[in-house]
Each structure stands twice: as structure tokens, then as C-alpha cells.
Symmetry: C2
Subunit: 293 residues, 2 copies
């Protein structure tokens, strides 16, 4: 069961995202159509929910959080569009629909992603309700999470791992970058939306929370890839073993990996449970841990 607050957050973010791209003139309307095609396609909107719920817990302005949340989802969407490109994962389907480049062509898909990434910073930086410090620090956190020392680095390590055996340390580094960095950026943005800075105990607790749920999610991903059927997952499975890819299953058996994921989830909850108003984030951590696909 999806928590009610998560559905509400997703609806609020969807409404905000619908305002970003206009129809456009005949010369460029295809760009905005391509961007909206992927941006408004739905999904659970976990990252924006982390922004919104972190800010809510800290008593911040929800209008600021909504802009920051939209920006994180724009960056997530760009990363999916570029990941699906023929020169990357070469995927034809995403959430049951043709991928962006299948519909709009590789050139437009590349530019749609470039634009989404660039515009995400604009959405943060033009938020009329945020202080100068808040918008600058939030945009910096997004750059660090998404850039060459965060998400992009994780993607490159992943490609390296397709041709080389990774150490466990390198596998952790891969996931810290590829999925962890943007999840961590999301709670950082929630803090900046609320005017809470690095060094505040609640800021640091939220960062630990995000790091642990991000890693737990990845560990469970690897477990599910080798235990579930393609039917349940809605995508092909068993690919990791076939490709002899280094995953957490290289270092743990199924039982050990499940215990590791459960431990990470508990540590995420431990990090924030003493903070007033952390109920939704705790529920989110439990919800993410329970998924079977």
C-alpha cells in the first residue's frame, strides 16, 4: 500500500511540473513535448517526496520545498532519458511506454535531457519564496549530487563494472553515486528549503537517513534481480548473474543480503526517530524496504 502522504506529495509535484514547459512555437515545440513526455509520465516520485517531507519535518515553507522537489525530479528525469539512449543502456521501454528517443529521436532526447538538467537549476534559483542563501545552497547540493563526483561518477563506475570485477568498496562507491547521491541531495534540498544548514544535527541525521535508505534500496534491487520472476518485476531479471556483473550478491547470499538491507533500513530510521515530525519519513523507509519489485 502506498502511504497517503506519498500520493499527495506526488500529486503536488505533478501539478508543479506541469507548469514548467509551455506549448512553444512551431520551431521548438517538439523539445517541450519531449520533456513533458518523460517528466509527466508518473512514477512514485520518491525523490521529490524526500524533499517535501524533510522540509515539512523541519517546519519549512512548503512552497519553497515544492520548487526544490520539482527540480530534483527534473534531474532524475534527465538521467533516465540519457540512460536509455542507444549509446548507453539502449532501452526501448520505460514504465511500459516507448523511451524518449524512440518517440522523438536521439537528437531531441539528448537535448530534452540537457534542457531538463539545466532548467532544474533555474527552478531552484528563481524560487521567489527562498532566501538567497537557501536557493544558492540548494542548487549547489543538487550540482554536487548530480555531477561528476556524484551521479555521473556512479554511472561511469557502473560502466567500468560491466567490463571489470569491482571490489566491495567500489561497488559501494558505484551505488553512492548512481542512486545514492541524488537521494541524499533530495533531503539536503529539503533542509535548505527550511533554512537548516549542514552542521545542524537534524541536517546530518537526515543525510544519514538518506544514505541508508538509498543503499538499502540498491541491496534489495540486487536480491530481487536473482530471486524474482520477470513477471513479478515487470522487467527482465537474472541479467546480473548472466553478465557476471559485480553486485551485492557477489559478496552476500540471499539471506545475508536481506539482513543487510533490513539493517540499513533500521539504521535509517534510528537516525531520525528522535526528531519531532519524522513519522512520514520513517513510514517511507519502511515502505521502500517492503517492496517485492
Amino acid at each position: 500500500m502506498i502511504p497517503a502522504f506519498l500520493e499527495n506529495d506526488a500529486a503536488a509535484v505533478q501539478a508543479r511540473l506541469q507548469t514548467i514547459y509551455p506549448r512553444g512555437e512551431r520551431t521548438c515545440s517538439v523539445l517541450y513535448r519531449a520533456q513533458n513526455y518523460s517528466l509527466l509520465a508518473g512514477g512514485k516520485r520518491i525523490r521529490p517526496a524526500l524533499v517535501l517531507e524533510s522540509c515539512r519535518m523541519l517546519g519549512g515553507d512548503s512552497r519553497v520545498a515544492l520548487d526544490f522537489a520539482a527540480a530534483v525530479e527534473m534531474v532524475h528525469t534527465y538521467s533516465l532519458i540519457h540512460d536509455d539512449l542507444p549509446c548507453m543502456d539502449n532501452d526501448d521501454l520505460r514504465r511500459g511506454r516507448p523511451t524518449n528517443h524512440k518517440v522523438f529521436g536521439e537528437d531531441i532526447a539528448t537535448l530534452a535531457g540537457d534542457g531538463l538538467l539545466t532548467d532544474a537549476f533555474g527552478v531552484i534559483l528563481s524560487c521567489p519564496y527562498a532566501s538567497d542563501k537557501s536557493r544558492a545552497d540548494a542548487a549547489l547540493a543538487l550540482s554536487r549530487g548530480a555531477g561528476s563526483f556524484g551521479m555521473v561518477k556512479g554511472q561511469v563506475i557502473d560502466m567500468f563494472g560491466e567490463k571489470n570485477t569491482l571490489t566491495e568498496q567500489e561497488l559501494l562507491e558505484l551505488h553512492r553515486g548512481k542512486t545514492g547521491a541524488l537521494i541524499e541531495a533530495a533531503v539536503r534540498l529539503g533542509c535548505h528549503a527550511a533554512g537548516i544548514e549542514e552542521g545542524d544535527t537534524r541536517f546530518d541525521a537526515l543525510v544519514r537517513y538518506a544514505q541508508h535508505i538509498g543503499l538499502a534500496f540498491q541491496v534489495m534491487d540486487d536480491v530481487l534481480d536473482c530471486t524474482q520472476t520477470a513477471e513479478i518485476m515487470g522487467k527482465s531479471v537474472g541479467g546480473d548473474a548472466r553478465d557476471q556483473k559485480t553486485t551485492f550478491m557477489t559478496f552476500y547470499d540471499v539471506q545475508g543480503a536481506k539482513a543487510y538491507a533490513a539493517d540499513l533500513t533500521q539504521r535509517a530510521i534510528d537516525a531520525i526517530e528522535d526528531i519531532a515530525g519524522s513519522e512520514n519519513l520513517i513510514e517511507l523507509a519502511r515502505y521502500l524496504a517492503k517492496r517485492s519489485y
Copy 2:
């Protein structure tokens, strides 16, 4: 003859750019090598010079301007890497060297560009000498110049123009986006580095200056494509006419286009000549107008 200040600016920017990317671990060093390959390849560094010289004219802190200048060049470099990709212009050579994807592969080239773009915001936003307002406003100006309503939009209009006849208004919109928007962003960043805001007469004068030199440059580009030999230009020429592409030569003859470019350059100079310290920017406008390639 390249003006001496332009050579000095280029050297300062080069030194700053060399500090951005580390060697990296074995898992991701290819990313930073790919980024440095294109970022440190040289070029006239016109955009960063516009940041530095605008800030200097306004009496701002040159350390701030140098960070902002580096960021603009990172965005320019990302745009070149992505433009050269097989799904875009499919170019094998850039400044006499193999293009990024020819050396590192399309996947790494795509990610190298994504990272450069994302990191550019980080360079602005982590500048320790800039005020919160200055770094936030500068990063916003960069997002607007480079994003889906600026440079990316111009690129999409260019692609539309390859299959459709453009009106003169649409051609202007193409160039305002494709090259003009980042040139304009450069002077905006110079102003923000100096703490000068939109609405200040010098800010508005610099924006007009940038808009006019950007357009003059494009008009001369179209003239040279139909008047110069491939030998002088160092690249293939006459492609516009062969492709029946809409250019300024669709609307002007050679003499008319040259007069238009000269008029734009003069209007750029007129915009700033009464501002104390504008000598270098005036020299830059004249230098750009005189080029024969």
C-alpha cells in the same frame, strides 16, 4: 592580432580550469580524462573573457569573475561535446583533433558533457568570494542562457531549420538561442560577479553589447560560409547553400550582410562606450568583427 588582454584572460581561465577535475580512481578516471580532453583544448575563450572584462570594467572582484568565467567555458565545452555526437552533427574533428566521442566513446562523451554542465553550476555556487545573492543570481543567469529557453532552444530551432524554411524572425530567434544566449549570459555573470544587478544602466548596456556582438558574429559566419575557401576557413564551406539552409544570406546579399554586421558591431560599441573602463570590451567587439575565418 589577438589583443593582449584576451591572451591573458585565456591563460588565467586555463589555469582555473586545470583545477576542476582530479586524476580519479581506476573506476572513473576515464570521465575526468574525457572532460579535460575537451575542456583544456584551448580556443579563444571569448565567453570567459566577456565575464572577466565585464567584471573588470565594473570594478568587481576578479577571483569571483574567474570562477564564473570557468563555469561559462564548462557549459560551452559541454555544448560542443554533445553537438559533435553522432546523433547530432556527427563530427569527427574539432579544432583539428578527434572529437570527444571518437576518443572516449559515445557513452563517456555523453556523460562527460552531462558532468561538465552540472559541475559548472557547482563552480559558481561554491565560489568562496561571492555573496549568496551574487552566486545565486549568476547561476540563474547561466541556467536561463543555457537551458530550454536559451541555448538548447536555439539548437532545436536549428534542427527544425534543416528541414523547414525559417522566417527572418525565426532565424534571429535561432541565433539568439544557439550562440547569443550564452554570450549574453557571460556578461550577466560578469555583472553579478561585480554585484551589479539587472536594472542598473551599466548592466543593461552590457546586455545590449552582448546581444549585438553575438548577432554580428553569426551574420559574419554566414557571409564567410559563402565567400571564403575551405583552405582559409580550415573547415568545409558552402554547406549552407548546398543544404538550402535558411541563413542571413537568404535575406541579404554579401554587401548587405557585411553592412548589417558592421552596424551591429557599432551598436555594440555605442552601448558601452560612455562607461569608464570599457576599452577592452570595445577592442574585443572590433577584434571579433575583423576576423576573416
